[in-house]
């Protein structure tokens, strides 16, 4: 059983024609059923309205409308057919503050150029397998930006390596063990059996 990519459509918005062609060819090789191209944010949004793609891959630096502005339009314009559509932003920038800027505009994933076929595939897999909750607050609508849960959080690019890096894997296993131990302790304190539904006041445990 493999992904049924022939059932989806992907819009690529890129002003550099050779780059647009090569990205479209990669997607076609992956088996994507309908690959659409646009050369700037404005024509990109027109195609979004016409085609309602399942995934959008957009370059950052474009004129007259760049990838960040394009993302904001897709997320917030009343004419946008799907404000939740996953948007993968391509750029040569990899510095932390650029990633944060992209994240704050409502981008779902970040793909640093130059990239290889597997890099592109990994980002597509992320938006399929690990979709992010959306947040609507006063001045923001987009994927939940709050991934920073612990002090040793490695940043938005961490997921890429988390299972291949032995240190990260060990840390995740330790966190899991700690969570199991905490649950076990709560059960013991509350006289619960494994499988019982948690319906207790934390004040009755040593967690508060």
């Amino acid at each position: 059983m493999t992904y049924q990519f022939h059932r989806i459509s992907v819009l690529v918005v890129e002003d550099n024609l050779p780059m647009l062609d090569i990205t479209k060819s990669l997607l076609t090789t992956f088996g994507v059923g309908h690959v659409i191209g646009a050369q700037n944010g404005e024509s990109g949004f027109r195609r979004v309205r016409e085609e309602n793609p399942d995934i959008i891959i957009a370059d950052w630096m474009m004129k007259p409308m760049d990838g960040i502005s394009f993302t904001r339009v897709v997320r917030n314009d009343p004419l946008s057919p799907n404000p939740y559509v996953p948007i993968i932003l391509m750029t040569g920038f990899s510095e932390r503050r650029r990633v944060l800027q992209a994240r704050d505009s409502g981008v779902t994933e970040f793909l640093v150029k130059p990239f290889n076929a597997r890099d592109l595939y990994k980002r597509i897999t992320q938006v399929i397998e690990r979709p992010r909750q959306f947040v609507r607050s006063g001045d923001f609508f987009g994927p939940d930006r709050r991934r920073k849960a612990t002090e040793d959080y490695g940043g938005p690019l961490r997921r890429e390596d988390e299972l291949s890096d032995p240190k990260v894997l060990k840390h995740l296993q330790e966190q899991q063990s700690e969570a199991h131990a905490t649950l076990k302790r709560i059960r013991e304190q509350a006289g619960m059996e494994k499988g019982d539904r948690f319906d207790l006041d934390l004040k009755d445990t040593d967690l508060m």
Partner: protein, 191 residues
């Protein structure tokens, strides 16, 4: 009712203007594509397509190198009274394009050199005469790599070029130890 009163008290009985609403969209994408990923064979085929593309990078590189040169000239012309961030940006953006595209079209060394220049431009305090000279050295090197059709990482020659440029950047900062505190990055400001 009591819960609501307690929550209101927590916010000084004021309306919460920036209350976040969390939404979980239906994952239609997953429903459409199903499970199982793609086979290694397909990924290898896609990678081969990328590696064998015959797109000529030179016209694209010329365009970005010319834009970078315009940025360098603009920086030279306005050394004392130009808009510092705008001047740095006019050199940074074409460099980013060189980094992004070089490696996609077989010129990995162009990406590596441009990446080093981006790192330099991201941390300089201002585009002074010494900084502009260093950017010019990068430009000359990048043009030489493109004109000489040096694809891949350039081997030993590529490494020597990278080391020389790295030394130039380090010497620049060694001459400016007092700027170190000023180079702390401020992530709160938009570029």
């Amino acid at each position: 009712m009591q819960e609501e009163q307690e929550e209101n008290a927590l916010y000084f009985n004021q309306e919460r203007r920036r209350k976040a609403e969390f939404l979980t969209p239906i994952n239609t994408l997953k429903t459409k594509v199903g499970s199982g990923g793609l086979s290694e064979q397909i990924l290898d085929k896609a990678q081969a397509l990328l590696e064998n593309n015959a797109i000529d990078f030179q016209p694209l590189a010329d365009m970005y190198l010319n834009t970078l040169m315009k940025g360098i000239e603009r920086a030279r012309d306005t050394l004392e009274n130009g808009e510092n961030e705008a001047i740095i940006a006019s050199m940074l953006y074409p460099t980013m394009q060189l980094k992004a595209n070089g490696g996609m079209f077989h010129y990995q060394l162009v990406s590596m050199i441009a990446d080093k220049l981006i790192n330099f431009l991201e941390v300089i305090e201002k585009a002074d005469i010494d900084a502009v000279e260093i950017v010019l050295a990068f430009h000359t090197t990048l043009r030489a790599v493109v004109m000489g059709k040096i694809t891949g990482d350039g081997g030993q020659h590529g490494k020597e070029l990278m080391d020389a440029l790295d030394d130039a950047c380090r010497r620049y900062f060694e001459r400016r130890p007092d700027d170190k505190d000023l180079r702390e990055q401020d992530y709160s400001t938009e570029f």
